[in-house]
Amino acid sequence: MAISRAEVEKVALLARLLLSEAELEQMTVQLGAILQYMDLLAEVNTEHVEPMAHPLEITNVFRGDEVCESLAREAALANAPHRDEECYRVPAVLGET
């Protein structure tokens, strides 16, 4: 299945990427070629096949409800690119959903 440039733009927004004109052009060609290759899978009969999301077949892994020490605030915020003494900071998020 080929992918259109408009679709590539839509996916870029969904993935929170901003592609330049040249990148959009190239991405459309490359993704098109890759997706065309993926169409190979269409020939496999998977009618009664259960999807396999994970190689493990284990179940029921839990931890107890025990409180452990949290990071000191300074350690938690140490890697933040923009912060104040208490919080991470971002451009206003009012009114967005």
């Binding site: 839990f62 931890r63 409180v67 452990c68 949290s70 890697n79 104040d84 991470y88 971002v90 009012l94």
Partner: protein
């Protein structure tokens, strides 16, 4: 009568009462300073992995069982992908196609009869993690938001109802009953002020026209911060939708689903901005967690641990103590501890109806005034029961008993101690007989009235008796005086 039905479905999120977060050991305590209850896992740092909190899973399951849901054998987790600064991983761990429960119901009824009792369908209840908090900061002209991740990763139960609710009052009643149920189960404290219960509502109208019933577009209403706000927002929204329908005639499916927020100060809903692409959450199975498989034995064990739930408790109180539906509702809505208190008062006094009155009127008033719970109420159920028993046996007038109870509340004394301290000493029959004889001798006019069958006149004697000795039992005074008059020559 409006020419439409309101169709309401609710999406309720409740925080579960665990000590630690859903996937890490950080505390879930409310109100800590920003970003002091986080760790690499709930900050979503590279390389970290989630491990499921067993208690969170069990609480969710208990709630689902109490909501009469089907529990599938296998449940799993999925990632819901979206970008928001309070969601540090860029996805929320949630449940998509195999939630831990489906197809349940919760019964609601209104003792005041605003609506008929009904079962509200529960489409699903599933477990997911909470996000952090965004706070807008206008200081110094900065149009920034500040992010606190203390709440990120707190376990949440999402409960989705069928569109079965037909009025704002029903929606409010559903929320109240749900809150009560989850309180009884100790699954959640459902405190809307602290955000441990949050509600979104989907609302539309079925408008009855001569051409048939027409469904209007569904609107999702958010930002409702109290049950009262839910009721008002839904009432507002129903009226608004009717007006829009009258103006535009737009039907369900003809416009995209709208999201509106409730503005408490303006008492109105307003449109919220949302982008079309934001709803493509790209759910897929969470590869960092494994599924949970439940045996029928485990489900049975959890079901047995639920205890008596509000609906059953109301029925039992009505049947055992012969109290009204209204009384049982008031009592049960106050929580299990108050019901236990009532039951003890009823047993000690031997009169359920009287016990219900005393608990509802006298006890609850003090709890409200003092903003305390029944555990902090100074009078034990046994002490109140003993007092109520005296009232029932006619030893104490109700008004006098109220004074005694007030003293008990103030001092923590028993009924006997309080009565003694208030100068009450039981008056023996000999003494009472003497007093009555004196009064009859001093009041020939009243005696004449009584002899003539004007029995009301005895009240005058009772009044004088109380004046001379406040401890007399008025009923006994009346009885003795009438006896003595009857035996007069």
């Amino acid at each position: 009568m409006v020419p439409y039905d309101v169709i309401i479905g609710l999406e309720v999120h409740v925080q579960l009462l665990t000590q630690s977060k859903m996937f890490c050991g950080c505390s879930t305590r409310f109100g800590a300073p920003p970003n002091t209850q986080t760790c690499p896992v709930c900050i979503g740092m590279p390389g970290t992995l989630p491990v499921m909190n067993r208690k969170a899973f069990e609480l969710a399951l208990k709630a689902a069982l109490a909501l009469n849901c089907e529990i599938p054998r296998l449940t799993k987790w999925d990632r819901k992908n979206y970008y928001y600064p309070d969601l540090p991983k860029g996805y929320q761990i949630s449940q998509y196609d195999l939630p831990l429960s489906r197809n349940g119901f919760l019964e609601i009824r209104d003792p005041k009869g605003q609506f008929a009792p009904k079962r509200v369908g529960i489409l699903r209840a599933h477990l997911e993690e909470d996000a952090g908090k965004s706070m807008h900061d206008e200081r110094a002209g900065k149009a920034d938001s500040r992010i606190d991740l203390n709440r990120a990763g707190t376990p949440l139960l999402e409960i989705v109802t069928a569109p079965d609710l037909r009025s704002p009052a029903e929606a409010k009643a559903f929320l109240a009953e749900l809150k009560l149920l989850l309180n009884y189960l100790e699954v959640s404290d459902c405190n809307m002020q602290e955000g441990s219960l949050r509600v979104d509502a989907n609302v539309n109208l079925h408008v009855h026209t001569p051409q048939g019933t027409v469904a209007t577009p569904i609107v999702e209403v958010k930002n409702m911060n109290s049950f009262r706000a839910v009721e008002r927002a839904l009432a507002y929204e129903a009226q608004r939708q009717f007006e829009v329908w009258q103006a535009t005639g737009k039907r369900l499916g003809e416009v995209p689903k709208q999201t509106r927020g409730w503005d408490e100060s303006r008492q109105a809903t307003f449109e919220q901005r949302s982008k079309e692409e934001s709803s493509d959450y790209r759910y897929f199975p969470e590869p960092d967690l494994v599924p949970v498989v439940l045996s029928p034995e485990e489900i049975a064990r959890l079901r047995a641990s639920l205890g008596e739930l509000p609906a059953a408790l109301r029925r039992r109180l009505e049947e055992t103590y012969a109290i009204s539906a209204y009384d049982s509702d008031v009592l049960v809505n106050q929580g299990r501890a108050l019901v236990d208190y009532f039951v003890a008062v009823a047993e000690a006094s031997g009169d359920g109806k009287l016990a219900a009155n005393w608990v509802q009127q006298d006890v609850l008033r003090v709890l409200n005034e003092r903003q305390i719970t029944i555990e902090a109420y100074p009078v034990s159920a046994e002490a109140l029961g003993a007092l109520v028993r005296r009232v029932r046996q006619g030893e104490l007038e109700t008004s006098r008993a109220r004074e005694v109870l007030a003293r008990m509340v103030q001092t923590g004394q028993s009924a006997d101690q309080a009565l003694a301290a208030m100068g009450f000493r039981p008056v023996d029959d000999q003494e009472l007989r003497r007093l009555c004889e004196e009064l009859l001798a001093a009041n020939p006019k009243i005696v004449a009235d009584l002899k003539a069958g004007r029995l009301k006149a005895v009240g005058g004697l009772v009044g004088q008796a109380k004046k001379r000795n406040p401890n007399v039992n008025p009923a006994r005074v009346q009885q003795l005086c009438l006896e003595l008059v009857a035996h007069m020559p």
